[in-house]
Symmetry: C2
Subunit: 423 residues, 2 copies
């Protein structure tokens, strides 16, 4: 069972928004056994939309379109699909009422633009949108299905989960795809590849391995196509159990596990807590920890000590050490971690201090230099890393590395886990 | 001058990564007058790659491919392009040396996998990659250009800026596209559309208006195609000057302006500073402020007061008020904003406290309820908003709204800017 995704909108092609819808749809459909064959992004214009839909229909059974359904003049998806399927636009009373209700709820005028949202191609199946004013539309054509949905991610997601997937499952019978992904951290791709080469060669022929690298976080995905689900799941579980023997501290979890979810799960298991003291990461470590539901069970809070005065007054860093060693130094990182642990009462304090860039570096401490520290109930571990020259990347990498350093302590890795890092 | 982008990788189709490369390439090429006609994502397999490249060549003059150039077995782009263009793979000594140097620098073994990065299709132009081991490759075919680049965003960006764009400008002569985008905040799309309808109708015929909505942040883009650049720029500037008269406090800036860059610029102009006290936003406001270079000129730091004990001990929130009113309340938000202003010495303190969800709501304070406050040298302004049920969205919206509330104070909007919000 093959599907294609078409995202429609000039704003995607000129790069004013990043298309996050496709990744979400890809994940969601894959989990149900529907494989995405291609993703296509085209402009808000009739010809590219028609060509993209026709091309997708020539290759796939399901074509999911997002975008171009707004009330304004530059949105043309609905009119174009109506033209393709020789349907005229008619007012749908249910949608009309929904738009009227939503505009009233939001105290927005129920004007002509909003009312045009209730026009739908006659003969399509309307998928009511309880979160917005543009409904989804379901077309059937020569045994294939075309669905048009709004581009607003939240509205699209609710439509897919509540309406599109159940309808697809009724309409088609799906082949089985089994995926599982191990998330590794701390090894460069070529090192990882070499270290697991024998394991890879010994994999059953039915399993396909893919490397999915992103910065220091390399995911190893095993897939089995058109196989018995139970057998494939057992084979994949066995293969990953063997992999854990080879890389005991570099696998942080499976599926959608992240450094922050791994750390959160370990803290929760142990009934422990963490607090953050951030300089160069500027709140990003706290943000990543608190993006997860339930973070309040183990995250107490933190201090973003951007100015040195804040390092001194809130975290109790000695001004003399700051003066002598500079803010980007081992003793300052250690003192920040210990300070935030002390003032919040958390089990662990974690700290970052570095030069995010693009300016502010020196010969001795170039841009990208970051000191990190973890204060535990018994000791404080510090680590220096030198990343690159890109501010956003330095912030992300420092955030990831301090979370990983905490994870390695929580796992009880030998030598504080420092031996597990090779990149 | 039309280009197409092809991003190659199973990880994109199964949604394990979001394709951010395309948006960046779209922005960068547009600024040089190259229009992106289509973006296509295909899997790491020869047939889809060949079809996508051939289809793109049938429509566009330039085809930019990213991804599938890693050293591991599942990466097939290089072999597929060599096959398409009837070239054999040969070792490139310059790339070989670069891979040797990079692996040495990173203390990584110079193994067979790495060495295979030095194999390139004979006859293509190699674009050396100073940031990684996979080089870019430039192919010319019947007057058109195909470029293959690694999928790692940073490596791809450096290749495009340093090598691909200069080569394209030599190879082709470009038509002129002029874009400018005004960033509005605080008005729902239909309200905005109605309020600017007369302005829109009065636009010169050569200007094309597009709405680019994303949550509460709606961008209005004016474009002119195939026109004299100077005339188009003047027309666009004049149109936006007229728009500013209609929406004086809802336009936060132009181009890539964001709430945080607008706030940063205003603070810097005024020689003032800000500090953050975050509960439900968990550090995201500080993170967004510090993602910008130069943030240390106006951002002093902040407290993430996730646990109530941290609100009391670090920010001085009265435990009695916390008990009586609850953490999500006007007096707690006000006290947090005033507290962080006091302890850091910043000109402004900004605070958020709310229920991010998915759980923790009540009938009186449903999930998505957020109190925000700005403490200025003379007064404290508070605002309650009720967002939705999605944690990540609540965090982002609360972060955006507190930044906007500060922006409105810095702009001197009448009635604290509260009249400018309608959504």
């Amino acid at each position: 069972m093959l599907a294609e995704i078409i995202t429609i909108g000039d704003e995607i092609l000129i790069g004013q928004i990043v298309d996050t819808n496709s990744a979400w749809i890809g994940q969601t459909l894959n989990a149900r056994g529907i494989q995405i064959h291609q993703i296509t992004s085209v402009s808000d214009a009739p010809e590219p939309i028609i060509q993209a839909v026709n091309d997708a229909l020539s290759r796939a059974d399901i074509v999911l379109c997002t975008g171009g359904l707004g009330p304004t003049k530059d949105d043309l998806t609905k009119h174009t699909l109506a033209r393709m399927f020789h349907m005229k636009l008619v007012r749908n009373e249910e949608v009309y009422e929904q738009v009227r209700r939503m505009t009233a709820l939001r105290h927005i005028a129920f004007n002509e633009l909003n009312q045009s949202q209730a026009l739908v191609p006659e003969g399509c199946t309307v998928l009511p949108n309880r979160c917005g004013t543009a409904p989804g539309m379901w077309f059937e054509h020569q045994g294939k299905v075309i669905v048009s949905m709004p581009g607003v991610p939240f509205e699209m997601k609710v439509l897919i989960e509540e309406q599109v997937l159940p309808r697809l499952e009724t309409y088609f019978h799906f082949e089985s795809i089994v995926h599982q992904t191990a998330i590794t951290y701390g090894l460069a791709e070529s090192i990882l590849a070499e270290r697991i080469a024998a394991w890879e060669s010994a994999l059953p022929a039915s399993l396909h391995l893919a490397y999915l690298p992103s910065a220091l976080n390399i995911r190893l995905r095993l897939s089995a196509y058109q196989v018995d689900r139970t057998t494939a799941e057992a084979q994949i579980a066995q293969a990953f159990a063997a992999l854990e023997q080879i890389l005991p501290y570099n696998i942080l979890g499976y599926g959608d596990a992240t450094l922050e979810s791994a750390v959160g799960a370990l803290l929760q298991q142990r009934g422990e807590s963490v607090a953050t003291a951030e300089s160069c990461t500027g709140g990003n470590v706290a943000h990543r920890l608190t993006a997860l539901p339930g973070a309040s069970n183990y995250f107490l809070g933190g201090v973003v000590s951007y100015a040195n005065t804040v390092k001194e007054s809130l975290l109790g860093v000695d001004p003399e050490i700051l003066r002598r060693e500079g803010a980007v130094s081992r003793p300052v990182a250690e003192s920040m971690a210990e300070g935030v642990r002390r003032i919040t009462g958390a089990t662990y304090g974690i700290a970052t201090t570095g030069i995010a860039g693009p300016s502010g570096g020196s010969a001795e401490k170039p841009v990208g230099t970051v000191w990190m520290a973890v204060a535990t109930p018994t000791e404080t571990i510090a680590l220096k890393m030198v990343f690159g020259s890109i501010r956003q990347q330095n912030i992300e990498r420092a955030s990831s590395n301090i979370l990983n350093l905490l994870r390695l302590q929580l796992c009880g890795a030998p030598n504080h886990g420092l031996d597990t890092l090779q990149y």
